[in-house]
């Protein structure tokens, strides 16, 4: 439930052109065919009392509170389950239905505790409200209210919410929310009659299949499922609409506060990305913002081995400016640079890249998308002409075939995964391309038609083989290709080559040729086919090639330019898309325009009144290399923990320690800050004022819930440094930064804070041609004109399993944790994932004498770490998996310098390793002095 309520129409909206006209209490209303009487009434301004109905769930018809009279019909039908019919005349308030409702309510209350005044839901309880509405004045049954359930034990096992069965009215809204909205099917109703109660599958919530998305808490009309924070702090009394700062789904939330304290985050029904749904991170894991580890004052030190010294902002800013200027004077303009963060707002990112380009006077600016989705930017730009996904999230509801490649959306993009699962339950076919048996492969009411369980590093071989099938079996959409694309013939000749056939590729990919052929046929002929992909595509030595390969496949089959199709990156962090849009890459100004383009540069030079460098700057890995060779000496890092998240950490830290000046702006003293000379405190998303852009190009407002705890906005810090270095850069408000972005970026030309406040959100491009944005791209033509087919030869990675390192490590995320864990490790989410573990196939474990839960050592040619093993049949034999959420484990201690050939995006997904159990003393069982490997 939510104290600050959006309208609830009782049952979901119906689509369709046909309409039906009815009268509700004499008020005429016309609604789409199939609409319920309850919803029609609500649309005409009449709220029919209800308990089991809510418009995020299909009608259930169990509570009998919504009975109405319909002229010419016998009895008193439930308005939630009765569809409107032409000419229907409905009466919602008659003496008879009033009496019936009072009777129903009397029965509910007869078995409900009468402790409203001390109940944590007091003031936010639908049962309480409805009892008042129906005029309940007496309860004739039951001497002791709630006596059937008062003795039931409260389930407090979940870190964020309690389940109190004595307050439950068995409306099944929680069960249905878990089924219909979240798609986890963790809850059920056990027992009959008075014994009926909600059950998390016969155990407590914490030990059940519950994923703590909060949908059940949201749906509960009473105190039965209630946030612990509300129990502890009381009901919130004000609300601020803002955007989640976790994954690239970009959910809209109401931050509900009591005074200045955030009590809870409630998903916003009108949020374009999430439409009222949430996950365990966005819904509950916001406590890090007020965690005691938070540093809120600037600090400096001469050497990164000295103690920190707290200073005021002016001292810190002038120190940074003076040191940066000094480095440039001694070593040259190109020896300093900055890294922007995908966790910061567009306005903050824009300010930092402007600081680098205009005040530093070089293009040494890069963003953390370098290590995740930079191949997306490259690959989609080459083929479609724009560095962004093609669809909005809603589009998946029109898909007939969904191909998920190298993504694990139920863990990493859970709110979008719920949309996807809903469509799959409706009958869409699923193809999963992943070495691991991710949850989507087989989950309640969903089973993949094909799971192409490929060997890590063979994505391009797979997509080429699928293209081969499409071309050689005559499955090409000739009309689409002829009208909309170029360079098809050359690609078709290349892809039809026998070296790309499924049969030839089978020994490489490990995927049976016939299974691959069937999957390709399904993708090409199964109706609307959509590709959704993640870092399992991009973080490879051929990440960019794979993105282009997927684009080829979509174009060849005509699966671009309408709802239900497309090529869609699932972005890892909340503002990956935005940080890239804002000109964070060293070769591109805002809007993905190359720095060598004189006309584009002139636009910025005229506005910024500074000459800009026409050559690309250093990318993040290049910065590290240059730091070690002495040609790069000063670095500003905005909200990014490169010493934990980037590969080959030993190399990263060596680079950081080579710098004369490392400035880190963050919430916490993270792993990178341990090597820094200046720490500038950052603001959490609850303090930011600006915008995030999610994976569907949706620009959402981020509104400040509280003042910056640091006393300064982050965009202001970039401005101050620039000013102190002699470049005038100032704004009075972040809306002015967005206005500047719009003035220099054609795809953002129509975007402003005012328009965002008016429309709620905008998907770019937003300009004169699309004043309210563009949900689906490339509809009539591609951004680049013709879609370009690119030849994508498969080139195996140089990182291969060997006798010394016989296993392949691949890394990723888990649901409850996020990225380097800086946020989620400082929340109750640690209850689910207190440490990174190594998933290993039973055969590989047995061969090494590893038992479930054993501490193991994992080594690669780069480094060695220890962690706990989990034996899992999700893994294929020969492949192990871990996450990188905990610095103690340091998964990236073992990852290598290999990277995508086009963008330098690290090859996180393929590292040859060896794994061995640790002795009780904590030492690897076998270590040779002359080699880093463990047992052979």
């Amino acid at each position: 439930m939510s104290l600050l309520k959006e309208p609830d129409y009782g049952t979901p909206a119906k689509d369709g052109p046909a309409t039906v006209s009815v009268e509700v209490d004499g008020i005429p209303v016309t609604v789409p065919e199939g609409t319920s009487v309850m919803r029609a009434a609500a649309l005409s301004g009449i709220d029919i009392p209800k308990l089991c109905a809510t418009d995020s769930l299909e009608a259930f018809g169990s509570c009998r509170m919504c009975l109405v009279e319909i002229e010419g019909k016998r009895g008193y039908p439930a308005s939630c389950t009765t569809p409107v019919a032409e000419g229907m005349k409905v009466s919602t308030q008659t003496s008879k239905v009033d009496k019936l409702r009072q009777g129903v309510m009397e029965l509910y209350i007869s078995d409900h505790p009468l402790d409203c005044l001390t109940c944590s839901a007091n003031g936010d309880c639908e049962l309480q409200d409805r009892a008042g509405e129906v005029g309940l004045r007496q309860v004739r049954f039951g001497q002791e209210r709630g006596e059937n359930h008062l003795d039931l034990e409260k389930d407090t096992s979940n870190p964020y919410f309690d389940f109190n069965p004595s307050k439950c009215i068995v409306c099944s809204r929680c069960v249905r929310a878990c089924d219909e909205v979240q798609g986890t099917f963790a809850l059920t109703i056990e027992g009959r009659g008075f014994d009926s109660q909600v059950s998390a599958g016969g155990t407590d919530f914490m030990n059940s299949d519950c994923v703590s998305c909060g949908a059940c808490v949201q749906a509960c009309p009473t105190d039965s499922l209630m946030e612990k924070s509300v129990v502890d702090l009381g009901m919130p009394n004000r609300s601020v609409l803002t955007t989640c700062a976790y994954c690239g789904v970009g959910c809209s939330f109401k931050a509900e506060l009591r005074g200045d304290e955030v009590v809870r985050m409630v998903p916003y029904k009108d949020g374009g990305a999430n439409e009222g749904h949430s996950c365990v991170k966005g819904r509950f894991a916001f406590g890090y913002a007020s965690h005691p580890d938070r540093v809120t004052s600037p600090m400096i030190r001469e050497s990164n081995t000295d103690e920190w010294r707290e200073v005021d902002w002016d001292t810190a800013i002038s120190h940074v400016a003076q040191r940066m200027t000094d480095i440039q004077a001694r070593h040259g303009a190109g020896t300093i640079g900055g890294i922007t963060s995908s966790r910061c707002t567009n306005e903050e990112v824009y300010a930092v890249q402007k600081m680098v380009r205009a005040a530093f006077g070089n293009n040494n600016v890069d963003t953390c998308a370098r290590v995740c989705h930079s191949p997306t930017g490259y690959g989609l730009k080459q083929t479609f002409g724009e560095s962004a996904g093609t669809q909005d999230f809603k589009s998946v509801a029109q898909s007939d075939v969904i191909m998920v490649i190298g993504a694990n959306p139920t863990d990493a993009h859970p709110v979008f995964a719920s949309r996807m699962k809903r469509r799959l339950r409706e009958g869409a076919k699923l193809i999963v391309v992943d070495p691991r048996k991710i949850d989507l492969v087989r989950t309640p009411h969903i089973e993949a038609a094909h799971h192409l369980q490929l060997n890590p590093g063979t994505n391009v071989a797979i997509v080429n083989a699928m293209g081969h099938v499409v071309v050689t079996e005559g499955l090409v959409d000739r009309s689409f290709v002829g009208d909309r694309c170029e360079d098809f013939d050359a690609w078709a000749e290349f892809i039809a080559g026998p070296e790309n056939s499924p049969e030839v590729m089978e020994p490489v990919t490990g995927v049976p040729a016939e299974e691959l052929r069937e999957a390709a046929r399904l993708y090409a002929t199964g109706g609307n086919a959509a590709i959704y992909y993640g870092l399992g595509v991009t973080e490879h030595s051929q990440g960019s090639t794979m993105v282009m390969g997927m684009a080829n496949l979509a174009m060849a089959t005509g699966n671009i330019g309408r709802e239900g199709v497309g090529v869609n990156p699932l972005r890892g962090q909340n503002n990956v898309q935005g940080s890239c849009d804002m000109g964070s890459f060293p070769h591109e100004l805002a809007g993905y325009r190359h720095v060598s383009d004189d006309a584009v540069r002139e636009v910025f030079e005229n506005l910024w009144e500074r000459p800009l460098v026409a050559e690309p700057g250093l990318r993040i890995p290049n910065m590290f290399d240059a730091a070690i060779d002495g040609t790069f000496r000063g670095l500003f890092v905005q909200g990014e923990d490169i010493a934990q998240s980037d590969p080959n950490i030993q190399h990263v830290t060596a680079a950081l320690d080579s710098l004369e000046l490392l400035v880190v702006q963050d919430l916490f003293i993270n792993e990178t800050a341990k090597h820094a000379h200046v720490f500038l405190p950052g603001t959490s998303f609850l303090e930011k004022d600006g915008t995030f852009t999610n994976a569907e190009r949706r620009i959402n407002r981020v509104r400040p819930v509280m003042k910056p705890q640091t006393g300064k906005d982050e965009w202001q810090v970039a401005c101050d440094i620039a000013q102190a270095m002699g470049y005038p850069m100032a704004y009075d408000h972040p809306r002015e930064i967005m206005d500047e972005i719009a003035s220099v970026t054609p795809t953002f030309a129509g975007v402003s804070f005012d328009k965002l406040d008016k429309l709620g959100s905008i998907q770019w491009p937003c300009n004169d041609d699309a004043p309210e944005g563009t949900p689906v791209m490339h509809v009539d033509s591609f951004v680049r004109g013709k879609g370009k087919f690119m030849e994508t030869p498969f080139v195996p990675t140089s990182e291969r399993s060997t006798r010394k390192y016989p296993l392949i490590l691949t890394t990723g995320r888990i649901l409850s944790q996020y990225n380097v864990g800086a946020q989620t490790r400082r929340t109750g989410n640690v209850a689910w994932h207190p440490e990174d573990v190594l998933e290993i196939h039973p055969h590989d474990a047995e061969e090494r004498g590893i038992n479930d839960g054993d501490e193991v050592a994992m080594s690669s040619r780069i480094g060695r770490t220890t962690l706990r093993a989990t034996i899992s049949e999700r893994m294929p034999s020969g492949v192990v998996y871990t996450t990188f959420h905990h610095p103690e484990t340091g998964a990236n201690v073992v990852t290598t310098e290999n990277s995508d050939w086009a963008t330098n995006c690290p090859e996180y997904k393929v590292t040859a390793v060896q794994v061995a159990p640790l002795n009780p003393g904590g030492k690897p069982t076998t270590v040779h002095d002359d080699e880093p490997a463990l047992v052979e």
Binding site: H587, E791, P793, S798
Partner: protein
């Protein structure tokens, strides 16, 4: 696989490996174009120096690309 090879040569060789379907001249032109668009001048200068000092570290197409790029950066 060598970890002693310079980052720039390794990256250039990685790019070169993507053009097995092209003639050496075509591949070299594509590699040079890519490097021109995405590499910082100091990286290109380093590549240029190394083509003379350690040509054996180069893929042939990458070496040809380095020669195409020669003189474009200071």
């Amino acid at each position: 696989m060598s970890t002693t090879i310079s980052p720039q040569v390794r990256l250039a060789n990685d790019i070169a490996a993507q053009f097995p379907h092209r003639t050496r001249e075509q591949a070299a032109a594509a590699i040079a174009d890519h490097i021109r668009k995405f590499w910082d001048p100091r990286m290109r200068a380093d590549l240029s120096r190394r083509k003379d000092s350690e040509p054996e570290s180069f893929d042939p197409a990458a070496l040809r690309a380095a020669r195409i790029l020669e003189g474009e950066t200071g």
